[in-house]
Amino acid sequence: MLFNSIDFAIFLPIVFLLYWFVANKNLKLQNFLLLVASYVFYAWWDWRFLSLIVFSSAVDYLVGIGLSKTEKKQSRKALLLLSIFVNLGFLGFFKYFNFFSESFAEAFTLLGHPFEASRLNIILPVGISFYTFQTMSYSIDVYRRKMEPTKDVVAFFSFVSFFPQLVAGPIERATNLLPQFFRKRKFEYAVAMDGLRQILWGLFKKMVIADNCAQFVNLAFNNPQDYTASSLAIGVVFFAFQIYGDFSGYSDIAIGTAKLFGFNLMKNFSYPYFSRDIAEFWRRWHISLSTWFRDYVYIPLGGSRGSNWLKVRNIFIIFIVSGFWHGANWTFIFWGALNALYFLPLLLLKRNRQHIEVVAKDRLLPSIADFFKILLTFTITCFAWIFFRANSLSSAFEYISLLFSESIFDAPNFLALNKVYVLSFLIVGFLMLEWKGRETNYALESFGESWPKPAKYAFYYSLAMLIFFFGGKEQAFIYFQF
């Protein structure tokens, strides 16, 4: 079920009413309702893959119980490895089998021993990269004794499959989300309204910004040779806004929906395109994944301690693994490595934490220096996005060579050029709202806070109608495929 579908618009109020009016008296019943709703939500795509979630949940639940019953180091390690093996095994099988098989075949062919790669004709279960990481975090945290394992099977299964963030995050930590399933949830008007406001903003990002950008991005990336370099430049910039609008829009809808049920999910995006360097960008982009890799991979590897060689190694590992998490394609690995290259100078010169505070804090506009830093960071980010979006490395390099050609000075040659102008105008408006709200959790959080109620509702109404009028065709969220 897509958040931007009629199905979800019917599903959400039904679950909401049942949750607060029928199951309100009983916490276990509420959790059970969330579990059923989450499974229905997931089964809307393909009910067969529900078994994977159930199995993954069961393994980590039992691993948790097992960890609570043994103090032996080796047994505990074996249980942890079992969880990692099962979760990564699912990922490896469904997501990476064909990639490894083909890559090995290509490598052996290059070495003069050609063989036919065996391919599996399987589809990738939606959200598998998200929920497997979420369940693994539980087992790792229990293993590290950061939290007590739970015996409440319904609460645990609900935590794994919690529908607002099941298929595209934020990837929640068990330490944050699981305890919320044991606390009585109280309906609060202000929180619920905040949730609706965040959903509205998420829908705007997804349907107006991302889906409209997608039309031109697809044209530019599918047939770059048909377009002038200026059109290709627009294609890249639009992709930057497409992926941001798509993914952060999803996160906003997820966080907003969770608020309606009294849950608090972690922030996943924090105005990444206002970053002044790439280190700041990575603290603000897909925060739940970055911090997951930081806590469970980077720090165990030694983090930024040790020799320069170790630092370089760790940075490359973390960025390449993060790239590979996005998809089984060399383009994602290259994208990760490129970001590592961007990041390394900052780390080695110990300048990776110079921009912790939000840009232009308590000021209306950034300084000229900050403005150019933002522009430079955005430009190199866009360059890296080319690899993320292209279907193959050769397509990415072809795109780049066409982009840096003489026709950069020609007018864009998209057929629906007037639509490009309208969309650019909408993006500027969107950026202005984001800039205004950059010190809050999401752009609309405190926008018009002091306005009288009718004015506030007039604004929300206008935004909803803008979504209706300018919403692109219903499209799946990009991150579903990861």
């Binding site: 109404y461 109608m465 009028f469 300018f470």
Partner: protein, 298 residues
């Protein structure tokens, strides 16, 4: 909770009402198909692809037929003969009608199909379009069409600079630039496109069967006429290449089903086309009169 439910419900109602109001404004300028899915059920129909949609004018036919007819033609992608179009015709047809007039336009493309097996109806692309999925072709506003099939941003419903208009009788009028260079370019593009299509399209026995079924259905509701509309001679050559014995096939069909057949294929020099395939409005008027006169003589 009460306050939240009241406020959010009122907000939702305001949005739904506004959306409904905008949907009510959708008309023949909003999109080339929509208004044909909103008019009432009809007793007399003009059927076929975009050639018929632009080429046959019910208003011109009226004095010859002595009744109103409705142009229910779409495009070769949406309304070739097949299960989807037949089902749509059934939905559009006034079930009680007995003395209707039905002009079925035919050409080689509308009884051909692409793909490995042109006879495999599960592969017919139009079944996945609104033609195969719309529950009703006579509801206004047609919410299902607008929600699932409207091809553009909804702002276009209110703010429209469209180069086409579907009239209330279903006739599609287009307003393309008609200078000789533009016409030449569009014609050249279509020739190229149709030549490319030749590589993948083949005659479909299944589609031909559905043409027979369509005739059979409509004969229960009135008189049926088969017409082949003119096209530029270069396009005609491609059509001949696709199906060399097309006319023989249709003449045979006309004979077995006792339905008159008129082919206007050799009269292209008399008419103006916008792109080699579609008749320009003045020529559409002439062709409609010619077809009307022929029907009145039957």
């Amino acid at each position: 909770m009460k306050k939240f439910l009241i406020e959010s419900s009122l907000f939702a109602v305001a949005i739904i009402a506004s959306v409904y109001f905008v949907f009510l404004q959708a008309d023949g300028k909003s999109d080339p198909f929509y208004s044909r899915t909103t008019t009432p059920k009809q007793s007399s129909l003009i059927l076929g692809t975009s050639k018929a949609a632009q080429g046959l004018m019910p208003e011109v036919l009226k004095p010859y037929l002595r009744k109103d007819s409705y142009n229910f033609s779409f495009t070769v992608a949406h309304s070739p003969f097949g299960p989807a179009y037949l089902s749509a015709i059934e939905k559009k047809l006034e079930p009680q009608s007995k003395d209707g007039v039905f002009i079925i336009t035919v050409d080689p493309w509308s009884i051909s199909s692409d793909g490995a097996d042109p006879n495999n109806e599960s592969q017919f692309g139009e079944s996945k379009s609104f033609m195969g999925t719309l529950p009703s072709f006579s509801s206004k506003p047609n919410i299902s069409y607008l929600l699932n099939n409207y091809g553009d941003n909804y702002i276009k419903i209110l703010w429209n600079f469209s180069l086409m208009q579907v009239h209330t009788d279903g006739w599609l009028e287009v307003f393309p630039p008609m200078d000789s260079a533009s016409v030449k370019n569009r014609t050249a593009e279509n020739i190229l496109e149709q030549k490319l299509k030749l590589k993948s399209y083949k005659f479909s026995e299944t589609r031909f069967e559905y043409l027979k079924k369509t005739i059979k259905l409509l004969k229960n509701h009135g008189k049926v006429y088969l017409v082949r509309l003119p096209v530029d001679h270069r396009i005609a050559e491609i059509e001949t290449e696709l199906l060399p014995d097309f006319d023989e096939k249709i003449e045979e069909l006309a004979k077995t089903t006792s339905v008159p057949y008129l082919s206007l294929m050799n009269s292209d020099t008399k008419f103006t086309f916008t792109d080699g395939i579609h008749l320009y409005r003045d020529s559409a008027k002439e062709v409609s009169a010619e077809v009307g006169e022929w029907i009145s003589k039957q």
